[in-house]
């Protein structure tokens, strides 16, 4: 294992993050506050409680997931797309590193950044609502797994994308709807039965459900299923990346 290489990529990527740390910190704080003003105050005044949890608190896990998923994808896809775009990718391709080392470096850094943002949102949210976390460790585990798996997905998108439009396409057209329809701001049980069934095909549902369970001990689907879904998704992404590096697809001519 070329640990120096992993560490170098990781540190290099994190340096980019620290250069704009203030920005990275302020924007989730502001957007979270806005969500609370709009959802918590405007809608929350009509919906008092969802399954015994105040609406303001109820949306916190979904809110965190929403940002973390989007951040993980955009961080990781940009991290690998950018060197491809400016040509510095030659360095990684000609270095004595294997795909695992490259992935740990890039995806690890992207996941760290979104984990940081997730925690900032959690902190900001706790200023607005009373939050008690039933299973803090499970909460953290779900959060980390989500960061990692979606960073992996972003990494794939970054390799696949041939231009900036494509880089935005998948997050915009697929991920955003899935996340919004994944029960971020409502409980699945609030939907008509047909939609409840359809929703079960949305992988994000399992994430948010499991994550919400870690907070409030109540979930739309079983926790084991949530864990299985996210582990399966992670494994799938790793498999795809392995294949990409094996064949050199969109990386090596």
């Amino acid at each position: 294992m070329n640990t120096y290489a992993i560490w170098s990529i990781y540190r290099y990527e994190m340096a980019r993050f620290f250069r704009t740390i203030l920005q990275s910190f302020i924007s989730p704080v502001i957007s979270t506050s806005l969500y609370f003003v709009v959802f918590g105050t405007a809608i929350g005044s009509r919906i008092q409680e969802v399954e015994g949890v105040s609406y303001g608190a109820f949306i916190v896990p979904g809110l965190i997931m929403l940002s973390v998923i989007m951040q993980s994808i955009s961080n990781a896809s940009f991290a690998i797309y950018f060197p491809k775009f400016i040509g510095t990718i030659y360095e990684v391709l000609s270095a004595p590193v294997n795909f695992i080392e490259v992935v740990i470096g890039y995806v690890g850094a992207a996941a760290t950044k979104s984990l940081f943002i997730g925690l900032v949102i959690l902190g900001t949210a706790s200023l607005f609502v009373d939050l008690s976390i039933a299973h803090p460790l499970a909460m953290l585990a779900f959060l980390v797994l989500t960061c990692v798996s979606f960073a992996l997905m972003g990494f794939i998108i970054g390799i696949w994308a041939k231009n900036f439009e494509q880089l935005q396409l998948v997050p915009m057209l697929i991920v955003t709807p899935l996340v919004f329809l994944g029960g971020s701001f409502y409980s699945i049980s609030m939907l008509p039965p047909v939609w409840q069934t359809i929703t079960l095909f949305n992988p994000v549902v399992y994430l948010i459900s499991g994550f919400r369970w870690a907070f409030f001990e109540q979930s739309d689907v079983s926790v084991a299923l949530s864990l299985l879904a996210i582990t399966g998704f992670t494994a799938l992404c790793v498999g795809i990346i392995w294949l990409i590096f094996r064949t050199g697809w969109r990386l090596r001519d």
Partner: protein, 309 residues
């Protein structure tokens, strides 16, 4: 000793079907400097990229230090330093960080002393904390060289390192190259400046349309260039070199309408005066005289032209 770099029948066909390398064979000895010359699009960069792992060969084999560049890529790439043709550097990164990154990628512990020595040698030490986008083009090129050298490679590829670089810097670069050669580093460089190849290479290879046309010792080439030819056009054609002139290195040309005398410009006596005297003594009337000298450039141009024909 086995060559440090061995290329066997290496072929590369790009996705669109273009055959950029048509079975390249090349052996490079440890410690030598090889100049790879060839017109635009000859396949120089493709060859280098294939050896470095940036491009996947279609068929054939290549080893660096005995390690296959595909199967033993870790060991092979670990020995290689690459200065790419295009300047690609992350614009917002500091010089020392981007140079340091490369060393890390090659699995080596950070070495501040080496960094300082290298940056000083390349006149970049004052710029170590500058961002890449604050540097001039020539400085960026030097950053690329620093990156290629920071992990102490045994084999160095320089893909047109002096393109768009001023005379001063070029001299600096050749100093660096000479220094590396002293340390036993093997260097393969591509260039369009033939004087450059003349000045520093041990061997010269010419590539065109994906094929190596010539690979030869530079000194041998130079001695070929040191020779000059005197062409003597005759009023009356002859069928063979006249007996009286058999002692000279003469050849018939233009179906006997001319004699070609080859001589060494470096010799004390070229023998021209005596030859001309003997010519008229033999009763041969000259119509015209001309001289010709091959330069590496001419050899190169005629090779490539032949190949294109």
């Amino acid at each position: 000793m086995a060559p440090i770099l061995q290329v066997k029948n290496l072929k590369k066909t790009y996705e669109g079907g273009f055959e950029a390398l048509k079975g390249v064979n090349l052996d490079i000895e440890e410690g030598e400097i090889l100049a790879l010359l060839g017109p635009n699009g000859a396949g120089k960069t493709t060859l280098i990229s294939t050896l470095c792992g940036i491009t996947i060969p279609t068929s054939g084999q290549a080893t660096v230090g005995g390690y296959d560049v595909q199967h033993d890529y870790r060991a092979a790439r670990g020995m290689i330093g690459l200065v790419p043709q295009d300047i690609s550097l992350e614009p917002f990164e500091k010089v020392k960080n981007t140079v340091g990154l490369t060393r890390g990628l090659f699995g080596k512990r950070r070495d501040d002393a080496l960094m300082e020595r290298l940056l000083k040698q390349l006149s970049l030490w004052d710029k170590r904390d500058s961002k890449v986008n604050e540097l001039s083009g020539g400085m960026k090129r030097r950053v690329l060289i620093a990156k290629a050298l920071i992990h102490e490679p045994r084999v160095l590829f320089l893909d047109e390192p002096t393109a768009g670089v001023d005379v001063e810097l070029r001299k600096d670069m050749w100093e660096v190259v000479a220094d590396l050669k002293k340390q036993g580093v093997t260097i393969i460089l591509t260039t369009h400046y033939i004087e450059e190849a003349e000045a520093i290479a041990d061997r010269v290879a010419v590539i065109s349309h994906g094929e190596i046309l010539l690979i030869e010792d530079k000194d041998k080439l130079m001695s070929r260039m040191g020779r000059k030819q005197l062409k003597i056009e005759l009023r009356e054609p002859v069928s063979e070199v006249p007996d009286a002139l058999k002692g000279y290195d003469l050849e018939l040309a233009d179906d006997g309408a001319a004699l070609v005398y080859t001589y060494d410009t470096h010799a004390d006596r070229t023998g021209i005066t005596r030859l001309l005297a003997d010519l008229s003594a033999a009763g041969i009337v000259m119509r015209d005289l001309s001289t010709r000298q091959d330069s590496l450039e001419q050899i190169f141009v005629s090779l490539v032209k032949e190949d294109a024909a």
